[in-house]
Every structure is written in C-alpha cells, then in structure tokens.
Amino acid sequence: MPDVQALVNDFVIKLKKRKIEGSLATAKHTAELLRSVISHQRIPYTNQAAALIDAVKAVGEQLIAANPVELAVGNIVRRVLHIIREEDLSLTTASIAGLSLSAVSDDEDDSEKDDHPALSAAAVAAAARSTLRPPSLQTLLEDVPNQASVHQTSSSGGDSEGKSKSADKSSRSRKLKHDVIEAVNELIQDIATCHEQIAEQAVEHIHQNEVILTLGSSRTVLEFLCAAKEKKRSFRVFVAEGAPRYQGHLLAKELVTRGLQTTLITDSAVFAMISRVNMVIVGAHAVMANGGVMAPVGLNMVALAAKRHAVPFVVLAGSHKLCPLYPHNPEVLLNELRSPSELLDFGEFSDCMDFGSKTGSPLLHVVNPTFDYVPPSLVSLFITDTGGHNSSYMYRLIADYYSADDLVIKKRPSTGS
C-alpha cells in the first residue's frame, strides 16, 4: 500500500505543478494510476464493489483537486468508477442467474487462475456488454432499471452469497478485481488508440479538393488529416498559428513533412479566409455535457466566423475528453490563465510594471487564458472514437460512459453536511 500512496502523491505533485500537459497524457496516467490503486486494494468479503469505489473515489478526489482545470482526470476517475459498477452488476446478475453454474466456474478459476478468465460466464456477459457498448437507446433503456436496482441486488446478493460458500466469496472478490483491471486495461487501450479510431473516419468527412482550416496544434487533427491524405484524398489545409503559443507553426511543419499542401495564416486572418474554407476541423480540450467545448484560445472566434459563413465546424475529441459536467461560467472557472510572459517580453515592458511610481496600482494588465469556450450552437459535428455526433446528442453519449452516481466525486461526509 505505501508504494501506491507514493505513486498517488507523485502524480498529485505533477498535476499541481502543471508538469503533465495535454489531456491524452493526463488521461493515460490517471487510468494507469487507478489500475495500480485497484490492484493493490485489499478487498473485504462483503460489498467488494463499494470498497473499490471508495478507494478510487478517495484517490480521485485528490487528483481532481490537484488540477481542477484538467477535466480529463475527473473523466477517467468517473469512467473507472463506472467500470467497477458495471462489472459488479454483471457479476451479480451472472451469479444469480447461474448459481448452479458457480461450482463449475469456481473449479475453472482454480485451475487456470489468471490465464483464461474470459471463459467464465460473467466474463462472457461482460464481453457481450462491451460489444454492445456503442450507444443505442435500447441498451440505455435496459440499463436504467437495472441501475436503479443495483444497490439492492448487490447488497442482498452479497448477503445471500455470504450464506452460500466462503470459498466462493474469495474467488469472486478476486474475480471482480480481475475483471475491473481487465476493463481498465481496455480503457487504457482505448485512450491510446483513440487517434487511430478517429482518424479512420477521415475519408468520410474530407473530400477531394476541399480546403480545411484548423487552429493551433492537435495531434488528433494531425492524424485525422494525414489519414485522409493516405487514402489519396488531395486537399489543402489552412493553419492559423494559434497565438500566443504558436503551436500552429509546428503543425504546419509537420503537415508539410507529410506532404500536405499547407498555408499558414495569422489568427486574425481567419475571418478573411473563412469564405474559401470548406470545413473547419479542430481539436478540443474537453467536451462538456451540453455539447459545449473547452478548446484552445481563439477557437470561439473561428467558430463564430464559420457560423457566419455557414462552414461546418467539426470538433475531434477522444472519448476521454467527454466530461459529464455541465459548464457554469466556463470562461473563468474552467480556464487556466498562464504567465503573461508568453505574450510580451518582461524586460521591454518592465517600466509599465513599476509599481513604485504613480498610483501604485498596475495600469497594465496582461491576460493570457489557455482556453476558449465554444457554445454548442456553434459546433456542427463531434467526431469521437465511436463516430460522428451532433452536439445535442452528447449528453446521451456521456450517459453511456458514466453513471449518474459518480458525477459528484466527494467523500460522503462533505456531501452529507
């Protein structure tokens, strides 16, 4: 246990110091950390799922507090919680359905401990569930009553199990943990491959001889454009440089090395160029439950320009960027103001910040926000690893990845008070 705590502390410090940048890296780290938390968590005989959930919540709370602006942390914590709930549910339903089978499955487990758990009935059920995961209203409708009954079934199920066999319990607890870890591994895999999954859809969206505009740099966008290029589509890309960090320069360079016809423009030239553009494709920092987007600064302006000229505004976002929260005052509360030194040279302007003269209050304020909030009405399409969606559909997608109980991750006492 102490080594897990050290890992958690280490990650918390990194988050606090803003040493991890980008939601993909953060999401991956978070998932890996939670996996080791789960694997080191000792599980009691009764109510195993609750114990896991509490452990994950405790760690998750620390992580979220460490950098509240990086929403990917909270997303992954909630995803893992959802996974635990799902696995628990499937195990209970399986054990209730196949109580007679349990002896057999136990033997199997004993003989081939970690090797082939997928053969067990529960795992089959889980697999079936995961294949069904791409959202469809039916599964959602099915899930809802089930979820309502989760608590009763799990507790009563646990009790009934307690009466049945003690050996069964230990194997079940190992099984739950094992299944959860499997599922988290899958999640990590998903996060790692989200670029490719999104990029696969590129040909459906980018057509021959089109002009695409993007701003700043996003790996997802880069992969997306390159995937279209590999499929022999020929098109042109306008890259707005993305002041003040000018990551657009890097993107332009990268695109050129991959053989794409690229034009670099300043951010302020976007409106002038937008009439020649067929589609705007950008990356996102986070996608909120209402379909609003936290995106690199400058994108709201691009979205407005696109709206004015009826150019489709497409946002690419891996599923780890979907945040189940509704934004409140996102321009301020979900934003990160970085150092003004990215905007101007301290040495040149140091006389404007001489507080000793005049009134003593600074006359020059430099504001350097990292993100823009793009309201859902400006977004034409979201492309996630599961396909394209309208912004009004996001809440549905989110409901599929998260369970409603986890939206507030705080320890019981504080929520109770």
Binding site: D10, R18, V332, P340, S341, D345, F346, G347, G356, S357
Partner: protein, 734 residues
C-alpha cells in the same frame, strides 16, 4: 545489461557525470540585513507570507521543480522557527527531494554561512546558491548545461549568475524592486561578466571603467537594464574561495567584485540571461510589494495562488484577477476590487472597499472599511470605519474603529492601534522597543535578536489576550498609538529618511518624484560640467598604468587624489604656505586615498609642471625659465617624496607622458628640464640610467625622449665612474 554496465563505468570515470546525478542547492534562509525590521525581530524573513504563502515555499518549490534533489537550508536568525517550520512541512516527506537544515548562531553574513557549509563538507559538485526570498519559475536546465560546458573548457569559470532584463526608472535610478541601479559589463559573445557595480548612485550616475577592461575585451556591452536575480550556479571552488578570503562577507559587494578585480587567480564569472521566465529577489518592502503584484499578475506561473503548488490552500481565480478562497463570509454590499486575494475564513463587512490588496486567513474586517494596496496577514481584526492604504499589517494586529494607516505604515505582530488614531506615513510599529545602537549592527539581524529581546519574545509568543492586557496595565505608552493602543513607534533614524520612501510598500509620493525629476536634471548639467575637465583625467589613467594596478576603484581614486594634490599645491603657492605644512597636507591625502609615495611624487610633480605651464609665458624659453624657477623653489617638497629610485622613475615617466599628451610645449625642453632636475639633486643619475635601460626594449615612439636625452645620458654614463668619489662630497654640500 551491457548498456547498464557501460553507464555505470562512465559514471565512475567522469566525476562530473556523477555530480549531475544529484544536484544540490544552498538556500540561505537569512538575508543578513535589517531591511525588514521590525517584523524580522519576531519571525525570520523567509517565513513571512507572500500572497499568503511563506516565502521559503516559493523558493523550495522552484528548486524542486527545477530538478534540485538536495537542499541545505542555512538558518541563522530565528533559526528555531525555520527548522520547526520545515520539519512540520510537506518538504521533508517528498521523495527525491531532501531538505537538510544547517543551523548557526554566529554567522553574520553570507560569507560566514558559506564558510560554515564548506567546513561541513556536504557539497560535492556544482550547486545552486540562492536566498530563501527568491521567487522564480525559470528552468535551470539550460543554465546548468552552459555552466558545465564552460567548466569543462575552462576550470576557472566558477560561477554563472542569472540575470534578467528589467529597466530601471530613469528618474529615481532605482529598479522596480527598489534596489539601486545596477551596471554590468558583459562580453556579448562569451557572456562573461567583466564589471559589476550596484552602488552607482554614489557617483551620481557616472561610472568609471578601467582602460585595461577595454583593452582585454574586444567587445563588451555595458548594461544598466539588467536585474540581478541572485540565483547563482556555483562550482564547489566558490566555497573554498570564501574560506580562503575570510574577509568576503557580501555575495555581490565582496565576492563578485573581488573575483572580477583579482587577475592573479583568473577566476571568471559568467551570466545567463533569462527571457521569458521570471526571477526576482525580495530585498526590501518595495520589492515585497512588486513581487506580490507580479505573482497576482501571474508572471510567476505556475507559482500562483490558484495553483496548489504548496499546501492545500485552494483559491479560485475569478474575473479581473480576484483570487478567493472557498470559505469566505462577504457582505453583499462589500466591494472587492480587482487584483485582490482573500484568504480562507475571512469575514468582510458591509460597504467595505478592498482594492489591490492581499488579505490573509481568518481576518475579520468590519464595515465601511477602505483597504487599498495593503498586505494584511493572518488573523487581523480591523474594526469599522478604518482606512488603510499601502500598509503591511502582520499577524494578530487589531486596528480599532476609525483608525487610519497612512501610506507606508508597517504594523508588526500583535500591535493594537487605538480608536480614531492616525498612524503617520512610513512609521514602523512593533511591540519591541527600537534597539538603541542601530548603526553598529546594521548588518546583523542576528545580533539584534540576542540583545535581551529574546526573553521578551518568549512572553509575547505565549501571550494570550489577557497577557497583553496585563502588559497594557503595566503602562504601555498609550499615547503612542492612541487610546488603547499597544506598541512602540520606531523612530526613523536620520540617515535613512531618504531611504524610507525608496523602500516602502507605498508608491513614491508625487513630491518626491518631482524632486527626483529635478535632481535628474541637475545631474545632467553636472555630467556636462565634468566633460570640460578631461586633461587630468587622462593623465590619471596613465599614472595608473605605471602603477601596474589596474582597477577602476583605484583609478577613480587617483583622479580625485591628483586633483586634491594639485589644489593643495596651488593654494600653497598663492597663500605662501610653508613647505612643511604642504607635506603634512599631502600626507594626510595620501593616507585617506591609500596611496604610496610614488603617487604623491607623481602628483606633486604634475602640479608643479601644470603650474609652470599655466603661468603666463611669452615664449618657450620663458616657459623653461619659469619651470626651472618653480622646480628650484619647490624642490624640497618634491624631494620629500623621492626617497627611492622608483619614485624618481615615476617622476620621469610622468614628465614624459605630460610632454606627450597634455603639455606638448615642454617637449623641446625635456632634456634641459631633466638636466635641471639632476642638477637640483631631485633626480639621481641612477634613476635616469635605469629609465634609459627600461626604455631600451620599448618601441621607437616611446623612445622619443630617450633619444632627446641621449647625450645627457651618455655624459652621465661616462661621468658615473668618476663621480663615485665626488658623490660623497656633494652630499655634504647638500
């Protein structure tokens, strides 16, 4: 496996690689000054809150994020508090980051501290030297790499100084941080520091560079827009240098200047300029104010209040730079303006206006209070209707209703300000009485502490409200802080009145600003004046050249010295002062400028010749006549300083240079005057011969006068053998 073994062997071969593995830092948790008195009497400077976080945490978290693995915190004044604080903080429990404290009770300067650290023998490789009041977010990687590379090429490159561009105010000649204007000369190619002067305002905006500096460095840029960040990357040699030179006290004034002047050892200091990152040191109240505002404006990102780089104090950043903790009681009618920080559990009453201020934790502020540009630390009570502007209010202070703090006030811990009392500008109030002999221990924070105040501190530390009441009963000078007030108002000592407005948290008052503006204009005139008298200045540097002692300090001095001697001499001529008295005066000048007899001889000879040259003369033969007369008249004065052959040579050289540069009319008469000097027994033949010998190797242009005097010298050589007997007789005559 193979790769691993390779790596291991490389490490053992290359000690520098080994050193790179664990980067160490020395953090001086003491400023060794009294700039923050009276607050630092009770709490060490590094624990003073800066935007509600003790300063040392900024430094430590920067060191931690910059990849430093081991920090030695050197504590001196109030060391107990620093050690206690660190032991209970999160720093001791961090992995890969070791904080070790070193305690000392008798160190009075940074020099002493470094000598002690050297004795402990804990520093193994390059280390970062920093004080506990430095805020930065720079990345050390580049600077370290540069330092290492230079070190590999030249083992004398012992230190890399981090500098940052920041313009000083042209009017007040002080930087944003309230420190004096700083002049640095840096070689633009190698980034070597060749000149460092931080006390420039003593010389009224004039700086003197040594000629040799220009000769040695083909290119050099002289900057006054650099700010010294007081972050140094040092090689271990620095510590031994401090030990070898036991008189080094101050890091900059003694160590850096000492190294720059010392050409024997040839140690070099380099600079590393940071552009986009931030670094500043809190040296006085003005810089406390400036750095606080920089933090609020986020120049120090990620060391800003809403990023939890330390502890668990969570602030939310709202529009217009308002930082608020989560638990605040704020009346609906209270107006909290931009660039304000409000700490946890603070209460703000109705109609209260707060702008540009920082409020600590657990403060309670009444209604109708106006707070502007102030720093209010923890658990302060401000009652209704108070007015605060540009003040620092320490922990536990109570300001009773209707009181007013004028700009620049500092209230130390637990002071109570009485009803309706107006605390005048720039006053410092403390529960402690002002130490009487402030001048003697200007440099020692520690000394003050040990002078009987310690016991008193013990009582106040424990003091509950009852105790402070009982103290009040014992007869606090109630008048000093109004009705019910507790605390002593420190008087401002005479010398530092000028300093008060410079170093206070309050902005510079407009009348001072105008005065400074006026002074700046005057200075401009003054510099124009000084341009008119270049001749002596020129000679000055030349005399220095013959000294072989090339540094701008002595150069500077010798210009003054020569002028003084000349003035003394002229006065002697005009007022018929006796030679003995002139000698007395010149001697006292010699002592005060720390010169040797040769300098005096040179200066007097120069004065003589200048006098002769300036006195009216029709033709050049008349000039010669004048000169010989004057020399004859004043030979006793000159002779007094010509005890040795060296001095005589000095006179000849001086004469030679005068003929070449300032007084060319002497040129045709060189031999005659030299001959006269010889006749008058002012210069011995040995000196002339020796001068001749020395000049043999010189190039032709230098030999001009030797050639002129050729016959004379020839005659001397021939005569010298015969003369040997005569010499005795001559001396008898004398």
């Amino acid at each position: 496996m193979v790769a691993q073994r390779k790596g291991a062997s490389r490490v053992s071969e290359d000690p520098e690689e080994l050193a790179r593995v664990s980067l160490q830092a020395v953090l001086l948790a003491d400023s060794f000054t009294t700039k923050f008195h009276p607050i630092t009497l009770e709490r060490p400077k590094v624990l003073l809150p800066l935007v509600n976080v003790p300063m040392i945490n900024y430094t430590l978290s920067w060191l931690e994020s910059a990849g430093v693995e081991e920090v030695f915190v050197f504590c001196c004044a109030n060391s107990k508090q620093v050690i206690d604080y660190l032991e209970n903080s999160e720093w001791v429990s961090l992995p890969d980051f070791a904080v070790t404290t070193i305690e000392s009770h008798n160190s009075v300067s940074a020099g002493d501290a470094l000598r002690l650290i050297y004795e402990r023998n804990v520093i193994h490789g390059d280390f970062v030297l920093i004080t506990g009041d430095t805020i930065s977010n720079m990345s050390l990687r580049r600077a370290l790499q540069e330092h290492k590379e230079r070190k590999k090429k030249d083992s004398n490159a012992v230190m890399t100084m981090v500098v940052k561009r920041s313009k000083p105010s042209p009017i007040t000649h002080q930087s944003r941080l309230g420190t004096d204007e700083l002049f640095m000369a840096i070689d633009p190619n190698t980034k070597q520091l060749v000149y460092y002067e931080d006390k420039a305002d003593n010389s009224k905006g004039i700086i003197h560079l040594d000629k040799s500096l220009l000769m040695d460095n083909p290119s050099m840029s002289l900057r006054n827009d650099m700010q010294d960040c007081y972050i140094d990357i040092c090689s271990p040699e620095v510590l031994s240098l401090f030990t070898d030179n036991f008189d080094y006290q101050h890091l900059r004034r003694h160590f850096v200047k000492g190294l720059l002047l010392d050409d024997i050892m040839g140690y070099k200091i380099y600079t590393h300029e940071i552009c986009s990152s931030y670094a500043a040191r809190i040296d006085n109240y003005r810089s406390y104010d400036t750095v606080s505002k920089d933090i609020i404006q986020r120049w120090t990102y990620p060391l800003v209040p809403d990023v939890k780089f330390f502890g668990n104090s969570a602030y939310k950043l709202e529009r217009q730079g308002m930082y608020r903790a989560s638990e605040i009681l704020q009346a609906r009618s209270a107006q909290v303006g931009p660039f304000t920080v409000i700490g946890d559990n603070s209460k703000i009453g109705g109609n209260t206006k707060i702008t540009n201020s920082i409020i600590g934790q657990g403060c309670s502020i009444g209604s109708n209070v106006t707070i502007e540009g102030s720093y209010i630390w923890d658990n302060v009570t401000i009652e209704d209707g108070c007015k605060l502007s540009h003040a620092i209010v320490c922990d536990g202070v109570i300001i009773k209703s209707g009181a007013e703090l004028e700009p620049g006030v500092i209230l130390s811990f637990k002071v109570i300000v009485g009803d309706q009392f107006v605390v005048p500008s720039y006053s410092k109030v403390s529960l402690f009485q002002q130490p009487t002999n402030q001048d003697s221990d200007e440099e020692l924070e520690y000394a003050d502490n040990s002078s009987g105040i310690v016991e008193f501190a013990g009582t106040t530390d424990k003091s509950s409200s009852e105790q402070s009441k009982s103290l009040e009963m014992q007869g606090w000078p109630a008048s000093e802080l109004g009705n019910g007030g507790i605390g002593y108002v420190w008087s401002i000592c005479e010398g530092s009145v000028e300093e008060e407005w410079r170093h206070s948290v309050a902005p510079i008052p407009s009348n001072k600003f105008e005065k400074a503006l006026q002074a700046a204009d005057d200075e401009l005139e003054l510099t124009q004046d000084s341009n008119v008298l270049p001749t002596s200045g020129e000679l000055k540097s030349d005399s220095n050249f013959s000294d072989g002692d090339d540094n701008e300090d002595s150069r500077d001095d010798s210009i003054h010295f020569e002028k003084e001697v000349e003035a003394t001499f002229l006065r002697a001529v005009h007022e018929n002062i006796k030679v003995d008295n002139v000698i007395l005066e010149v001697n006292s000048l010699r002592l005060s400028y720390n010169k040797v007899a040769a300098d005096c001889a040179g200066a007097i000879f120069y004065s003589l010749m200048k006098f002769a040259y300036d006195s009216p003369h029709g033709s050049s033969s008349e000039l010669l006549q004048n000169t010989t007369n004057i020399i004859t008249k004043w030979k006793k004065l000159l002779k007094y300083y010509l005890a040795d052959m060296d001095e005589e040579i000095e006179v000849i050289l001086k004469f030679e240079e005068m003929c070449l540069e300032s007084a060319k009319e002497f040129t045709p008469h060189f031999t005659k005057i030299l001959c006269h000097l010889y006749d008058q027994e002012i210069i011995q033949e040995d000196a002339i011969l020796r001068w001749d010998d020395e000049k043999k190797e010189a190039d032709d242009s230098d030999k001009l006068f030797v050639k002129q005097a050729e016959k004379f010298i020839e005659w001397l050589r021939v005569a010298s053998e015969e003369e040997e007997e005569e010499e005795e007789e001559e001396e008898e005559e004398e």
